[in-house]
């Protein structure tokens, strides 16, 4: 039987990160993955990630995937693809189906980084062709460049539902509505806002009654639910759609760990192994990292993987206890900062009334997907001054700070705590470079100039749709809710390598529309 220092199951963000760290220390790890390509879900992620520099914020997910693969190659990590691990045994033996053979391997340490699978909900007609998981939609669009449908209804307003809705719009699909049985939007407000201003209506406290169609989906009926999630008669709404996308959470794929006999916990977040701070399960030498040990973002999975990799190397004698402490300390602090803010694990299920700064939270954002006009003015990123200046519509404490490094003039401050809301210093001179606009992963920064021309203001917005409008194009300005508010003329379109495909679109609107116009439609 072939023996390895470390066997990693799953070549996603957690697994690859762990293997890289272990290989850096001199170990010879192998990574098995059942898919034909490595990277897990990273290559479907075309949006910019949150966090700070150390978490690779404002870099798009697939680019992080590319870098991870390069790093794995550089350190000689062996990645075996189309290799399905079918069994994991407490003696740290794995059985792997490779080709038409079952092979046995033994590892001094095993890391399960098997990720998660999508949850499903049942409703009448849920098995019809046209009802798909949000992950499938992402695979079709972002890996295979196939539109999942023409007109889509999304169920679920967590980050997956919000991000995939935006990507559907980018792919050219129409998103008929975003629906969630919960009374509040589950994901980041900034993700909701960028979908909302494109004109997608949100239906909270609603869920699907029926997927209609004989052979495949041709429509869907949703209805409002009461606080016991029972349909309220008379609240039915129908949409003609050909696709229903379901994004109702993920479940850890922890079956291998359960089979090995690791102590498991049945939590509201899924069936997960009990792990110590280094990711070691109840069985000595069997570790878990990433979504399999608790559902989080890819950024957290990569750090968890690195902590496990370092810990495994230390346990095998490749690092001294001091070296381990030093490396793990830095990684743990990076992980800790990602787990702060309103969406931190400890805040799950809680209804927060105020931001960390003591500012009342936008209720409209949670109920309808956008911050109302009379709410936005209370946040420190919303300022008024003569000349061009940033307006930052960032209203929730999420761990993210690239905007403060982006401004060459120091107009934007977040401070030490990366979940703080950005503050705009009106005393500093904004030169209108737009670096902040492009750096914001949440597309929440706009440049406003209320004195652009006599009677007109200019609004510069992040724009990630193709084909790009051109200077001189005319169209309609939409407000935060996606409602048409006035005519608009494109006065500038800027694209630069540093913007990384977030184009800066500047439109000219009547002066009194400066605080309203947030999107442009041809």
């Amino acid at each position: 039987m072939k023996r390895y220092d470390l066997i990693v199951i799953g070549a996603g963000p957690a697994g690859l990160s762990a293997a890289i760290e272990a290989a850096k220390c001199g170990m010879k790890p192998v990574v098995f993955d059942e898919n034909a390509k490595p990277g897990g879900q990273l290559f479907k992620q075309i949006h910019k990630f949150f966090g700070s520099k150390e978490h690779r914020a404002k870099i798009r997910g697939f680019k992080i995937g590319d870098d991870l693969l390069k790093e794995a190659e550089e350190y000689g990590v062996e990645v075996v693809l189309n290799a399905t691990v079918i069994g994991l045994y407490p003696e740290k033996e794995v059985t792997v189906k490779i080709g038409d053979e079952v092979k046995h391997f033994k590892g001094d340490a095993i890391l399960a980084a098997t990720g998660a699978s999508e949850n499903m909900v049942t409703f009448k007609g849920w098995t019809k062709p046209g009802v798909i998981g949000a992950g499938a939609a992402q695979t079709m669009m972002n890996l295979h460049h196939v539109m999942p449908g023409q007109r889509v209804l999304m169920l679920g307003t967590g980050n997956v539902g919000l991000v995939v809705s935006y990507q559907l719009l980018q792919a050219g699909c129409e998103v008929a509505a975003l629906v969630d049985a919960a009374p509040r939007v589950g994901g980041y407000g900034v993700h909701a806002s960028k979908v909302s201003r494109c004109g997608v209506p949100f239906y909270l406290s609603h869920t699907i009654m029926e997927a209609e169609g004989d052979e495949y989906v041709t429509g869907v009926t949703i209805a409002e639910v009461d606080d016991k999630f029972q349909f309220i008669p008379g609240t039915e709404k129908h949409f003609d759609v050909d696709t229903i996308c379901v994004a109702v959470g993920l479940s850890p794929m922890s079956q291998l760990l359960a089979q090995a006999g690791c102590k498991m916990l049945d939590t509201p977040g899924g069936y997960i192994p009990e792990c110590d701070e280094f990711g070691q399960t109840s069985i000595d030498g069997i570790f878990a990292a990433g979504d399999v040990s608790s559902i989080e973002e890819a950024s957290s999975a990569m750090i968890e993987g690195r902590i496990a990799g370092v810990s495994i190397a230390a346990a095998a004698g490749y690092l001294t206890e001091e070296e381990r402490k030093e490396q793990c300390g830095a990684l743990e602090s990076a992980l800790g900062s990602l787990r702060k803010g309103m969406f931190a694990p400890e805040n799950r299920g809680k209804i927060l009334k105020e931001t960390e700064e003591g500012i009342e939270i936008s209720t409209n954002l949670l109920a309808k997907g956008y911050v109302a006009e009379d709410e936005i003015t209370r946040y420190p990123g919303f300022v008024k001054k003569a000349g061009v200046h940033p307006v930052m519509e960032c209203t929730q404490n999420i761990p993210c700070n690239p905007c403060q490094d982006a401004c060459p003039k120091g107009c934007i401050t977040i401070g030490e705590n990366i979940t703080s809301l950005p503050v705009v210093d009106v005393e500093k001179d904004c030169i209108g470079c737009g670096m902040c606009v492009a750096s914001c992963s949440g597309q929440a920064i706009f440049l406003i100039d209320e004195e652009y021309e006599e009677g007109y203001a200019s609004v510069t917005m992040p724009y990630e749709f193709l084909p790009l409008p051109e200077k001189g194009d005319t169209g309609t300005a939409l407000d935060r809710s996606g409602k048409e508010v006035c005519l608009a003329e494109v006065v500038s379109v800027k694209s630069a390598k540093a913007f990384d495909h977030t184009n800066l679109l500047t439109i000219k609107v009547p002066k009194d529309m400066a605080d309203k116009a947030r999107f442009f439609q041809r």
Binding site: T84, T95, D100, V102, M120, V121, A258, M264
Partner: protein
């Protein structure tokens, strides 16, 4: 392991529901009604229901319906899903051809 006393728990009569014909396990084509009836027939654990109805034993190995079945059983027993013993995980973790499995000679 479920105790004999738990098996004697009175859960009331099986009352048909309008969506009893809805497929829950699409791989093995098991409906919500069949799962509910199995509970009323005395199968209180996921393991028993799985052996009896084959839900969760098809191509996706319960990846899609596992949580749904658990929810239905828990509701029928009027307990929280977390109180139900999870289904046992066994190798092979993914469906595979018997021919390949049969050739597995172990450690060679």
């Amino acid at each position: 392991m479920i105790s004999v006393d738990d098996k004697l728990k009175e859960i009331g009569k099986y009352i048909p529901q309008p969506d009893d014909d809805m497929l829950v396990c699409r791989c093995e084509e098991v409906t919500k009604g069949e799962i509910r009836q199995a509970v009323h027939a005395g199968m209180f654990t996921i393991e028993e229901i799985r052996r009896f109805l084959r839900c969760g034993m098809g191509l996706c190995q319960g990846q899609t319906c596992g949580k749904l079945v658990k929810g239905i059983v828990a509701r029928e027993l009027k307990v929280s899903p977390a109180e139900l013993e999870p289904a046992v995980s066994r190798a092979p973790m993914r469906p595979m051809e018997m021919e390949i499995l049969g050739r597995d000679g172990g450690d060679k």
